[in-house]
């Protein structure tokens, strides 16, 4: 739901994949899941994704994202609701008949088989001829640049290589849907970033539909067409990465995705899209009304650190800030400020030519636009 009045035109407005109302390939319809009959792990999941989309389920551990993936794969049954794949209900179809490729967190490569045998396994159980199998295995291995490793055992491969083989195995039988359960969790940072691009490119070149589960927000933002942010068994927001970051619907999403400055207060005036919030130290702040109640109700204002300007009193909101701490990070400087009674107010100052040099203990003027301050629900 892009806001046309925004001062910063955002890329999601040009994203064509956003409209998903057409024919859905994967569909969760009012899905609920409970393990013990007392608490719901997945509360009311409604999700539909078109063919060819890369959708990431992002959320803290215990938020129900992996459970959703397992229900889609067929390893868990939905307590209520319907899961549809390509229009057909699959609730009661066993996993081996769903034809869904899956990459597991620990890769789950069969240790007693060679890489080649691992890849041939899904083809073998489908009764494919030996020659056909071999051709497909070689093709799949080449696809992940592992062509010469067919005769190795999984234990003889490094983590990154195992990951590639696991990917190749999930793709070798040409599934139209591939599920990935935190596949990069065990890799080191550099390799992880490299693999993110590779998976992304594979997705683009093969045109497969991918459901990806992760708790790493940067991974989600890098790879996905859309991200579903999970918390407490519910989807908090389902949106393309840019929208998710720049227009969070609620405080949880604002908090979970990227860095975020919070100012809590009470709505004192509401006019159209905008509200004026009376902060805890009685100062007033103009903000965009996104997800806040009427006059007199509590709200939490969320401001991204890079949207705060230092050294000027222009704009809708301008206030004095005390510099508490400076952290040098190369390309930018992280400043921790005391603003409106909040000690943890972070501002990022880009390390560009002629940027303002702050000193700890100094008082400075900061400002931000009302559009960049989003009044959300209190946590």
């Amino acid at each position: 739901m892009p806001k046309s009045g925004s001062v910063n035109p955002t890329p999601w407005e040009f994203n064509l994949r956003q409209d998903t109302s057409g024919d859905a390939f994967v569909e969760f319809d009012k899905v609920q899941k409970s393990y013990d009959g007392e608490t719901l792990v997945v509360k009311n999941l409604n999700l539909s994704m078109p063919k060819g989309e890369f959708l990431t389920m992002l959320g803290p551990s215990g938020s129900g994202k992996t459970t959703c993936l397992m229900m889609l794969a067929g390893f868990e049954t939905a307590t209520r609701g319907e899961i549809r794949l390509d229009g057909a209900e699959i609730n009661n179809i066993p996993p081996h008949k769903r034809g869904i490729g899956m990459v597991f967190q620990n890769y789950a490569l069969f240790p007693h088989m060679t890489v080649g045998e691992n890849l041939a396994f899904p083809l073998e159980v489908r009764g494919m001829s030996k020659a056909e199998r071999e051709a497909k295995v070689i093709h799949a291995l080449d696809m992940v640049q592992m062509g010469e490793f067919g005769a190795r055992r999984p234990a003889q491969l490094s983590g990154g290589q195992q990951q590639r083989v696991a990917l190749a195995r999930a793709l070798v039988f040409d599934p139209s849907l591939v599920l990935m359960d935190e596949p990069l969790g065990a890799l080191d940072k550099q390799l992880r970033e490299h693999m993110q691009y590779e998976i992304k490119h594979l997705h683009e070149s093969l045109g497969i539909t991918v459901v990806y589960v992760t708790h790493d927000q940067s991974e989600a933002l890098t790879m996905s067409d859309r991200v579903a942010v999970f918390n407490d068994g519910e989807i908090q927001q389902l949106a393309p990465p840019a929208e998710l970051y720049e227009c969070p619907d609620n405080s949880f999403v604002a908090q979970f995705i990227g860095e975020n400055n919070k100012l809590s207060g009470i709505v004192s005036e509401r006019s159209g899209d905008h509200v004026t919030v009376k902060l805890q130290n009685s100062a007033m702040c103009k903000a965009l009304a996104v997800n806040c109640g009427g006059v007199g109700e509590e709200t939490l204002i969320s401001i991204r650190p890079e949207r705060v300007a230092i050294g000027g009193s222009v704009g809708d909101n301008s206030t004095e800030a005390l510099v508490k701490e400076l952290i040098y990070l190369g390309d930018h400087i992280r400043c921790r400020l005391h603003v409106h009674g909040n000690d943890e107010f972070i501002v990022k100052v880009s390390n560009s030519a002629g940027h303002k040099h702050l000193v700890v203990g100094e008082k400075t003027q900061i400002n931000w636009a009302a559009e960049d301050a989003r009044a959300l629900n209190p946590l």
């Binding site: 794969a73 067929g74 390893f75 066993p94 996993p95 081996h96 008949k97 769903r98 034809g99 869904i100 490729g101 899956m102 597991f104 967190q105 620990n106 789950a108 490569l109 069969f110 240790p111 007693h112 396994f121 899904p122 159980v125 489908r126 490793f149 003889q156 491969l157 490094s158 990154g160 290589q161 195995r169 999930a170 039988f173 599920l179 390799l191």
Partner: protein, 427 residues
């Protein structure tokens, strides 16, 4: 990634092999020296166990091997007869010289009071010979030439060529005759190896029966233990701990108590039969004989050996990640295919270890068959015990035990060839 791949194929170059330390000593020598003290201390720590094993295990096994081929109890007391046996080939009819040597030897046995010992040795092969030796030895003092007539007058049995063949065999302290006996073979009057009479064939058949029963028990244990071990490995910790206690409970109970409780359960007036009769499944006069026979041995031994199968299986199954089977299912395998192709192969080390353990224990089991085996449920170890304790034919017992040991070693070797001993995982 490629670094890791390279290091796998890495072979040390000659330059690396010739590495030296700063002061010029070769690296390998320096390394050995550096670890010398630690190694010596380690040796010192294991020394008591090493000595213990040497004294109480290796030495007795050596003794047993020796005893199976060495028995001097007859050969030590027949200096004269030995000479005659050496001079005359097997099958020679005993002449006056032979009887003279026999008479002289009997006299000296009488003087040393050793005719019992010597007679017992002959008695092993020819029952009734012990009394022949003792009675004739008593008369040997007063015998006069011709000795042949004198001895035959004392007892006609001395004429028996079979007896002379047995004495010839026993005249050498080193003999393979006990192995022949252990395989139901003997020597005829000419010294050729022949089968014993059908009604005296015991051991070969019993060896086969022991192998068969141990195999059957191993198989039953595997079938019974597999689901239990799987349950143990997959249940939540609380339940699996409880189950583990049930599995280990028999371990903490005396073997005798467990075996006797099987008697209580399975005997003709026992719990199982009473229940069957009470429910009308079995008539009172046709109660099932489940104990004091082969069935009793099998049932009780399966129960006792089951933990030895469950524990290695469990230790192998525990670390198998459930995602393997899930992966197989997601790749299109039915649950049976996933089990057969993915899960089962990963449990082979446990099946091998458990199978080998149960089989080897089963082959040598003694107490349970002795208590509940009756006549048909006796295993080879019961015969070994019989010769150790009752017949006092220790050499035969040793030969039987050695054959048992060889069989186990053969199986171990076979296992190594077929499955690979590295594939063994005990816990």
């Amino acid at each position: 990634m490629t670094d890791a791949a390279n290091s796998l194929n890495h072979r040390p170059t000659q330059a690396e092999l010739d590495l030296t330390t700063v002061d010029g000593t070769p690296l390998k020598v320096a390394l050995a020296n550096a670890q010398k003290r630690a190694r010596q201390r380690a040796l010192f720590l294991v020394l008591p166990l090493l000595l213990f094993v040497l004294i109480t295990f290796l030495a007795p096994i050596g003794q047993m091997l020796l005893r199976s081929v060495y028995n001097p109890s007859f050969s030590d007391h027949i200096p004269n007869l030995s000479v005659w046996f050496d001079e005359n080939p097997a099958g020679t009819k005993p002449d006056e010289a032979a009887y003279e040597a026999l008479a002289l030897d009997l006299r000296s046995m009488r003087a040393d009071k050793t005719m019992g010992i010597a007679g017992t040795r002959i008695n092993y092969d020819l029952p009734g010979s012990r009394s022949l030796f003792t009675s004739t030895a008593r008369k040997a003092e007063k015998m006069e030439p011709p000795f042949q007539d004198a001895i035959l007058a004392a007892n006609k049995k001395w004429e028996d060529p079979k007896l002379w063949q047995v004495m010839r065999g026993a005249s050498s302290a080193y003999t393979a005759d006990f192995y022949l006996a252990a395989l139901d073979r003997t020597r005829d009057v000419n010294g050729d190896i022949v089968s014993v009479d059908d009604d005296r064939k015991i051991y070969a058949a019993n060896f086969l029966k022991t192998l068969f029963l141990a195999g059957l028990i191993t198989f039953c244990c595997l079938i019974l233990a597999f689901p239990v071990a799987h349950l143990l490995a997959t249940l939540p910790l609380r339940q699996s701990n409880l189950l583990m206690i049930f599995v280990l409970l028999p371990f903490w109970t005396s073997l005798l108590v467990r075996t006797t409780s099987w008697i209580v359960l399975l005997q003709s007036q026992g719990v199982v039969n009473d229940t069957l009769v009470a429910t009308g499944i079995v008539a009172d006069e046709s109660r099932i004989q489940m104990i004091y026979n082969q069935t009793g041995t099998i049932v009780a031994m399966i129960h006792i050996l089951l933990p030895f199968m469950i524990l290695p299986l469990y230790s192998v199954m525990r670390p198998i990640n459930p995602s393997y089977v899930r992966a197989a299912r997601s790749l299109g395998a039915t649950s049976w295919t996933a089990f057969r192709r993915i899960y089962l192969p990963q449990t082979i080390p446990g099946m091998g270890a458990g199978g080998l353990l149960v089989f080897i224990l089963g082959v040598g089991y003694y107490i349970t068959p002795a208590l509940v085996g009756g006549a048909s449920g006796q295993l080879i170890s019961n015969f070994i015990a019989f010769h150790m304790q009752k017949s006092l034919n220790w050499s035969l017992a040793a030969a039987l035990a050695t054959l048992l040991l060889l069989m186990v070693l053969l199986l171990y070797w076979l296992y190594d060839r077929l499955v690979g001993i590295d594939n063994l995982k005990l816990g």
